[in-house]
C-alpha cells in the first residue's frame, strides 16, 4: 500500500488527509526533512505559496525534497502546491522547487473576488466532470516536453498537468467530496518508479 505524506507547513492539510482516509489510505504530516523517509507520495496542499516556499527553505526541506523526487517520490501540488513544484514562475517570487517542467502564473485569474467554481473534464478520470474550486488560482503558461495536459479552462489554459510521477492542479479537489483525483495520485505513487 502506498504511503502518502502531506506537507504540513501551512494550508489545507487536514482536507487532503480526510480525503485520503476516505479512500482507505493512511497519511502522515511532513514538517521536517526526516518526515520524508519511507514515503511513496507527497501532497503539497493549497495555502499561500510565498509562505510555503519561504518555510521550506527556513526548515531546510528543499534539498532533501528534491533528492527524494529524483529517487522516485511522487508529488502532487494543488494550487499553491502547483506553484511550489514549478520550474519557473512568470514573476520573481517565490523561488520554486523546479521539479516539474512548467511555467506558472500566480493569481492568474485575479484577486479573491474573481475566485470561482466550475465543472471540468479531466483526462484519465472517468465518469461525470469534476467540480473544481479555484481560489486565487494559478495557471500553467508554458509546458516542457513530457508534460501532459489533463484539463483546461477555456482554450489553452491548462489547470491540470502531469509529468511522469508529478501531478499539479490549479484547483482544490480536497475541498469537494470527489476523491477521484486523490485515487489517481495514489495510483501514480503506488506504481513502480
Amino acid at each position: 500500500m502506498a504511503s502518502i505524506g502531506v506537507l504540513a507547513i501551512q494550508g489545507d492539510v487536514l482536507e487532503h488527509r480526510k480525503m485520503l482516509d476516505s479512500i482507505g489510505i493512511e497519511s502522515s504530516e511532513v514538517r521536517l526533512p526526516e518526515h520524508l523517509d519511507d514515503l511513496d507520495g507527497l501532497i503539497i496542499p493549497g495555502g499561500e505559496s510565498t509562505t510555503i516556499v519561504q518555510l521550506i527553505d527556513i526548515y531546510e526541506l528543499r534539498t532533501p525534497l528534491v533528492d527524494k523526487v529524483n529517487e522516485g517520490l511522487a508529488v502532487w501540488g494543488t494550487c499553491a502546491g502547483m506553484i511550489v513544484i514549478a520550474k519557473n514562475l512568470n514573476d520573481k517570487r517565490p523561488n520554486p522547487l523546479g521539479l516539474m517542467d512548467i511555467e506558472v502564473s500566480r493569481n492568474a485569474f485575479g484577486r479573491q473576488i474573481d475566485s470561482f467554481e466550475t465543472d471540468l473534464d479531466i483526462h484519465g478520470i472517468d465518469g461525470p466532470p469534476m467540480h473544481a474550486i479555484f481560489i486565487r488560482a494559478p495557471l500553467v503558461t508554458q509546458i516542457g516536453s513530457g508534460v501532459e495536459i489533463l484539463a483546461e479552462v477555456g482554450e489553452g489554459k491548462p489547470v491540470a498537468v502531469k509529468q511522469n510521477r508529478l501531478l499539479a492542479t490549479s484547483f482544490h479537489p480536497e475541498l469537494t467530496a470527489d476523491s477521484r483525483m486523490h485515487s489517481m495520485f495514489v495510483d501514480i505513487a503506488h506504481s513502480t518508479p
Binding site: 504540513a8 507547513i9 501551512q10 494550508g11 489545507d12 492539510v13 487536514l14 482536507e15 514538517r31 493549497g46 495555502g47 499561500e48 510565498t50 509562505t51 519561504q54 518555510l55 527556513i58 526548515y59 494550487c79 499553491a80 514573476d91 517570487r93 500566480r106 493569481n107 484577486r111 479573491q112 473576488i113 474573481d114 475566485s115 470561482f116 467554481e117 466550475t118 465543472d119 471540468l120 473534464d121 479531466i122 483526462h123 466532470p129 474550486i133 479555484f134 481560489i135 486565487r136 495536459i149 489533463l150 484539463a151 483546461e152 479552462v153 477555456g154 482554450e155 489553452g156 489554459k157 482544490h172 475541498l175
Partner: protein, 299 residues
C-alpha cells in the same frame, strides 16, 4: 479536454475556501507597504492593512474608522499574499468601498468604532469574504448566519494580554464539544439559549466542528502565545500590535511564524523564543473599564 469557464464567483465555497488556505498561518497587522513586505518575507499568510495598530487606536481614542483607501491600495500593490482590511461593525458602505478596492478579505471589526449598535453587515450580499470576531459559540454562529466565512476570537486587541483570547477560544471549543455529545432533542433549546440559528447548531452536532475556519486574535504577543492558541485548538493566529510594537519586528515576525507551524514542538519553540528583545507592553484587562474593552462591541 477544454472546459468553458462559466464564472461562478463569490460563492460560499470560494469564500470559506480562501480561509482554508490560510490555516496554520499567521496574519499580521501592517500600517505601511514596508511592514507588509517584512510580514510577507517572514512567511505571513496574509496581512491586515490598517492605519494604526490596535494599541495605537486604543491610545488615540476618538472614533476609529476604515483606513485610507490610498494606503490600502498601496499595501495591495506591495505584496502578493492576500490583503485584509477592517470595516466598522454594521458599516456596509465601508465594506463596499473595501470590496471595490480589491481587498481579499474584510474584517468586520470591534477594534473600530461600531457604526450600528444593533445590526452587523449582511455579509451574504458581498462577493468578498468576511471574518468576524466572537467571544462564544452563539456569537460565532450569528456571524456565520449573516454570512461570515471565517471566525476569530475577539480576545482583547491592543492589550498584549493573551487571557481574553484564551477565554474566548476555550469557550467556543468547549461549547462545540458539548453540542457534539448532546441528544438531537436538546438542539433546539440549545439554539434558543445560544441565540444561534438552529441549522448551524444541528450542523455542529453532526460534524463536531465549526463550518468555517477559526483563528485566534486579540492579545497574541509572543511565539509561545501563538503556540498556546494553536495547542488549544484554533486553526491559525492574527497578530496585531504584537509584531510591529515589539523591539525587533523582523525577528519577532519570523519567530511567531515558526512557532505557529511547529506549535507542538517545544524544542523548536525554545529555540525561536531566544533573543527576541522586548515584547510589546501589556495591559491588565481586569483593570480595564468595560467602556475601554473592544471585545464588548458587537453582540
Amino acid at each position: 479536454m477544454a472546459t468553458e469557464i462559466k464564472p461562478n464567483t463569490g460563492t460560499w465555497a470560494v469564500k470559506s475556501g480562501l480561509a482554508q488556505m490560510l490555516k496554520g498561518g499567521v496574519i499580521m497587522d501592517v500600517v505601511t507597504p514596508d511592514q507588509a513586505k517584512i510580514a510577507e518575507n517572514a512567511g505571513a499568510v496574509a496581512v491586515m492593512a490598517l492605519e494604526r495598530v490596535p494599541s495605537d487606536i486604543r491610545a488615540a481614542g476618538g472614533v476609529a474608522r476604515m483606513s485610507d483607501p490610498q494606503m490600502i491600495a498601496e499595501i495591495i500593490e506591495s505584496v502578493t499574499i492576500p490583503v485584509m482590511a477592517k470595516a466598522r461593525i454594521g458599516h456596509f458602505v465601508e465594506a463596499q468601498v473595501l470590496e471595490a478596492l480589491g481587498t481579499d478579505y474584510i474584517d468586520e471589526s470591534e477594534v473600530l468604532t461600531p457604526a450600528d449598535e444593533n445590526n452587523h453587515i449582511n455579509k451574504h450580499d458581498f462577493s468578498v469574504p468576511f471574518v468576524c470576531g466572537a467571544r462564544d459559540l452563539g456569537e460565532a454562529l450569528r456571524r456565520i448566519g449573516e454570512g461570515a466565512a471565517m471566525i476569530r476570537t475577539k480576545g482583547e486587541a491592543g492589550s498584549g494580554n493573551i487571557v481574553e483570547a484564551v477565554r474566548h477560544a476555550r469557550k467556543v471549543l468547549g461549547q462545540i464539544n458539548h453540542i457534539k455529545g448532546m441528544e438531537i432533542d436538546e438542539l433546539m433549546a440549545t439554539a434558543r439559549d445560544l441565540k444561534a440559528p438552529y441549522e448551524l447548531v444541528k450542523e455542529i452536532h453532526e460534524t463536531g466542528s465549526l463550518p468555517v475556519v477559526n483563528f485566534a486574535a486579540g492579545g497574541i504577543s509572543t511565539p509561545s502565545d501563538a503556540a498556546l492558541m494553536m495547542q488549544i485548538g484554533v486553526d491559525g493566529v492574527f497578530v496585531g500590535s504584537g509584531i510591529f510594537k515589539s523591539e525587533n519586528p523582523q525577528i519577532m515576525a519570523d519567530a511567531i511564524v515558526k512557532a505557529t507551524t511547529h506549535y507542538k514542538d517545544p524544542e523548536m519553540l525554545a529555540s525561536v523564543s531566544k533573543g527576541l528583545g522586548a515584547s510589546m507592553p501589556g495591559l491588565d484587562v481586569r483593570n480595564m473599564p468595560e467602556s475601554e474593552q473592544f471585545a464588548t462591541r458587537g453582540w
